[in-house]
């Protein structure tokens, strides 16, 4: 397909919201009219220069874009192979790529006359970004978060509450990100007249996967220009971490029709991708199914019941993956690998100590894969990895795993 002059990897989805087999609109009838409205509004906005003028202004002055493309010199020397560049989306306002998309959806919500915004969040980054933009525009914001995540991400919960959002701990099901998404969908069905559902990743019913991708594509567009400026050419390899897959889709999308660019998505391998299913690697360890409005690869048992994902990183802890990734996987345009908790933790420390950048655990997975491939690549091979979030939110988790007692004021290691 890649060699077909008339085909492009950038033309999806089709009018039914499909990327090949994947995607679609698997939602209840109550939501269908709204989803069709949203699609129509988004199609209008996409070609409306005033929409993009507002986005560009806010991206620049509120988010701080463009984010730098940084040459990681010491890591490059350390691995002794490919040249490593980092797309610094962790420098965005609110500390991750999430706000790129939230701005787009909230501006759209305002155009649609919606006054109440709901969101689901896992690690809390999407919730914080949504609460932030709602505060800026004076919109009511309700964030659904798994009760388990509320506990392990308490600083983000406090942030959201400071920003004026109502955070609802979700105890239904097993109280994780997927249950938070279920409850957000239930809220939406109930309050469909005034409520806009701001989805945080490239999943959900059409048009969300395409819309979120388009908003996140600013990452790849900038990276392409910045790499041209730095090296005078395209990168050779792109690497990004994947939970639902929005930061990865944002980096990958503008390069899909550049056949020389090797594209690698890194899933969370948790404690290892095997029969214990203690991971979130939907592509490596799952199979196609239908959940949350789209068909995609899912972690599920042999009779189609959905399994919980597990990862050290709450942001990757989701049993599905965006449908476009499922399609890129099946067509072979992108390659998907997995990285374990232990490997990610090691990369987290390496990045911190060698570059002075504390990465979130999500991009630590991407860096861990870079660490695997960079040493064997030639010195003129250009890798661009997405440093999609900063690690402040993760220091408690990392401390716990490294056996460091944060409550000990003398900084001794825990016994």
């Amino acid at each position: 397909m890649a060699n077909d002059l008339f085909n492009s990897f950038m033309s999806g989805p089709d009018e039914n919201g499909r990327f090949g087999l994947f995607g679609g609109r698997f939602v209840s009838e109550t939501l269908m009219p709204l989803i069709l409205d949203l699609e129509a509004e988004y199609e209008k906005a996409k070609t409306d220069p005033t929409f993009w003028a507002e986005m560009d202004y806010l991206w620049k002055h509120y988010v701080g874009r463009p984010s730098p493309l940084y040459f990681a010199e010491r890591l490059t020397e350390h691995f002794g192979g490919a040249k490593i560049y980092m797309k610094r989306d962790e420098l965005n306002h609110t500390g991750a790529h999430k706000i790129n998309n939230v701005l787009g959806q909230i501006i759209l919500a305002r155009r649609m006359g919606k006054t109440r915004i709901i969101a689901e969040t896992g690690a809390g980054q999407h919730g914080v970004a949504t609460a932030t933009v709602c505060a800026k525009f004076g919109l009511k914001c309700v964030v659904y978060m798994g009760a388990h995540d509320v506990q392990r991400q308490s600083p983000n919960v406090f942030r959201m509450r400071l920003l004026g959002a109502e955070v609802i701990p979700v105890t239904s099901g097993r109280g994780t990100l997927k249950d938070a998404m279920n409850d957000a969908l239930r809220d939406w069905v109930t309050n469909v007249h005034d409520t806009f559902y701001c989805i945080g990743t490239v999943a959900g019913p059409h048009p969300y996967p395409a819309m979120v991708r388009d908003f996140q594509s600013i990452i790849g567009k900038e990276a392409k220009e910045q790499m041209a400026e730095a090296e005078g050419r395209l990168p050779d390899t792109l690497v990004a971490a994947i939970g639902g897959g929005s930061n990865a889709m944002g980096l990958f999308y503008p390069f899909l029709d550049d056949p020389s660019v090797n594209i690698i998505g890194v899933e969370a391998g948790g404690r290892g991708v095997d029969d214990r299913m203690e991971h979130c690697a939907s592509l490596t360890g799952g199979r196609p199914g239908v959940l949350h409005g789209n068909r995609t690869y899912l972690l599920q048992d042999d009779v189609g019941q959905i399994l919980e994902g597990y990862s050290i990183s709450a942001g990757l802890d989701y049993p599905g993956i965006g449908p476009e990734h499922a399609w890129l996987h099946d067509t072979g345009r992108a390659q998907y690998v997995s990285i374990t908790d232990a490997e990610a933790l090691e990369a987290f420390q390496l990045c911190t100590s060698m570059e002075g950048i504390i990465p979130a655990l999500e991009p630590s997975h991407a860096l861990a894969h870079v660490a695997k491939i960079a040493p064997d690549l030639p010195k003129d091979h250009l890798i661009c990895m997405n440093l999609c979030g900063r690690g402040d939110k993760d220091i408690f988790t990392v401390a716990k795993h490294l056996g460091f007692d944060m409550s000990d004021t003398e900084g001794r290691e825990a016994k």
Binding site: S28, D302, Q305, I306
Partner: protein, 263 residues
């Protein structure tokens, strides 16, 4: 003619409203739920809606979600639900059975295999919440070809422009969702629902039954009064979950049926 079509034809001839009762298969275990199911026709139930448990029931409220979790915890799989229907059919070849659930367990089994097995077991119709008309090629059209009714939900957000599309491949009956919300939530009101049912009936010859938010015999009576029948689910599931013995649950079902039949 499916059992559903035969039942509604008979009800219409008798000038009677349909009472549709929902229960979750396998809640709290297969034996108990089979016993409940067996007693439903004598309690006055015209159509049985049998819930198929799913881990992520996005359109359901806490009551039915909890029932699904109990069922899954007891080990219920789709095959058990079909076996339950087949056993029921040994003693009752008339009461229509509609399976209600979500698409993934069916997709996982394989649509064609599922449809053949469901038909063989004695299932008459399907309600699959996460398959709107936009996804008709997935299951709706194959189901009708296999001789099963595909019952669609129409909702307060289904406007006139969209209604023909919703009705297009619907068969058996139309299930009007009386509220924007999830099962077992807000109370449905007959004054609001009546004109909506009339709006739908103007566009189809199919019977229109009303569900979501009906908890009492009085509510069933008033909603059935403005439609062709009423569906009660969460209230029955709650009664069973409260620990009431099966005969008590069936007594409660009988009051709901009587309410509906007065409507």
């Amino acid at each position: 003619m499916t059992r559903i079509e035969a039942k509604f034809t008979a009800l219409k001839a008798a000038n009677r409203k349909a009472f549709v009762a929902y229960m979750m298969a396998g809640d709290p275990d297969l034996a108990t739920s089979a016993e409940l199911m067996k007693g439903l026709p004598d309690a006055g139930v015209d159509v049985i809606e049998l819930g198929v448990p799913f881990t992520d029931p996005m359109a359901d409220g806490p009551t039915i979600q909890a029932a699904g979790q109990r069922s899954l915890a007891a080990g219920t799989v789709l095959q058990d639900v079909l076996d339950m229907v087949a056993t029921f059919r040994k003693t009752d070849n008339e009461t229509p059975i509609v399976l209600m659930g979500y698409y993934n367990p069916i997709y996982s089994r394989g649509v064609d295999t599922f449809l053949a097995d469901a038909k063989a077991a004695g299932v008459d119709g399907l309600i699959v919440v996460d398959l709107p008309p936009e996804e008709d090629e997935e299951l709706c059209i194959p189901a009708q070809k296999a001789g099963l009714n595909f019952i669609r939900l129409a909702t307060p957000t289904t406007d006139d422009k969209r209604l023909p599309r919703v009705l297009q491949n619907t068969s058996g009956f139309v299930y009007y969702v009386s509220i924007t919300g999830i099962t077992g939530a807000a109370e449905a009101q007959a004054d609001g629902v009546g004109p909506e049912v009339a709006r739908i009936k103007a566009k189809t010859d199919l019977p229109v039954v009303v569900g979501f938010g009906i908890r009492t015999p009085e509510a069933a009576q008033s909603l059935a009064g403005v439609s062709d029948g009423a569906v009660v689910g969460s209230a029955i599931v709650s009664k069973l979950a409260s620990g009431a013995p099966i005969p008590d649950v069936l007594d409660f079902v009988a009051t709901l049926a009587a309410g509906t039949h007065r409507g």
